[in-house]
Amino acid sequence: MTDRPPFAETHVRLAHGAGGPAMRALIDAVFLGQTRDPAALARADAACLPFGDGFLVITTDAHVVSPPEFPGGDIGRLSICGVVNDLAMAGACDVAALTSCVVLEEGFPLETLRRLHASVERACAEAGAGARVVAGDTKVMRRGELDGVIFSTTGVAFANRVVRDDGLRPGDALLITGTIGDHGLTVLSARHGLGLEGELRSDVAPLNGLVKVALAAGGAQVHAMKDPTRGGVTGALTEMAEKAGVAVRLREAALPMTAAARAAAELLGIDPLIVANEGKALIAVAPEAAGTVLAALRAHPLGHAAAHIGEVVAGPAGELLLDTGFGTRRLVSRDADPLPRIC
């Protein structure tokens, strides 16, 4: 990987929140600086703490998205699914409890807030019995000090066995549970007022039910999981491969995409592999169990488009190569949020 310059920054930049190398550098330098706590140092989306004869799994997430409502979802649904999915990626599919903090800008329409809360409740219902908000906080900031609303959510679950995101092994099959790029391209189109109509919708959904099915089918042969949110499939796979010290090969022909997302990506000049997905998981599974897990995923409503998109191989840590059918492209995790291009 290219050498990482020492962290000598003096001020926060947008890139520090974009899910790429700059964000990881900020976390390592500022937040993990001196800690020796293994749970924190795992840098996983969810921390797994030994508890009784299993694990207490805990995660937290803050969501700021503009616009707060978009085709297929909104920031309320996103705040629940983001946390439920991070717990599920660790193998903790039965949520024990959730908390939700909402920070609002003075003047934020209450009618919108009611819609967002109803959406929170619907997402909790979809995520099963334990997924309910048991505590929370509300703050209001002066008009202009905040862009609309921030949802910050914490989730807790118990699990007998946990799956980490650094468990990739050479030979593993890489599966994705559905189509790529839907969320990011939908939000970009809404944010920039691009006026794209059609079946372009966010995929934001709770994945704990789907992951439970996959774990039931693959068990311990499911070696690693991660949901490709900020930074997209490229960001998530780069991080997984770096942590496990392995490389990844993908096949472009095998990447599932809806026609709407493919068209939007072409129109905007944006690589769908680097935009966020909010209802998809990347699963690394032993080759002999790949078929069984894939069939189990496809039988579930949220996994009907699941696909086997590549393999884990021995190689330089974090190297991601895509076979385009015409040659090979190296996929690089970006710092900056993707922008529509005209040329």
Partner: protein, 86 residues
Amino acid sequence: MCLGVPGQVQSVDGNTAVVDFFGVRRAVCLDLIEEPERPLVAGEHVLVHVGFAIRRIEPEDLEETLAFFASMSSEDLEGLTPPKPT
């Protein structure tokens, strides 16, 4: 140089058309389309750049391109399967 994307005209209203880009639709300005006296009709294909239709893609030009590819590589086909019709 410039991102241009082909699409199919769905409907025309004055100098605006709704164009389907094989999955999403978008309103497009027609102020730069050649031969304005021959109005664009639904079903025609256009090339679009930054919200403007800049070219009518005539069916015969398209055939010419595909025939062009077929002729170009016929000597090198050596048992390759013929192109899949869309």
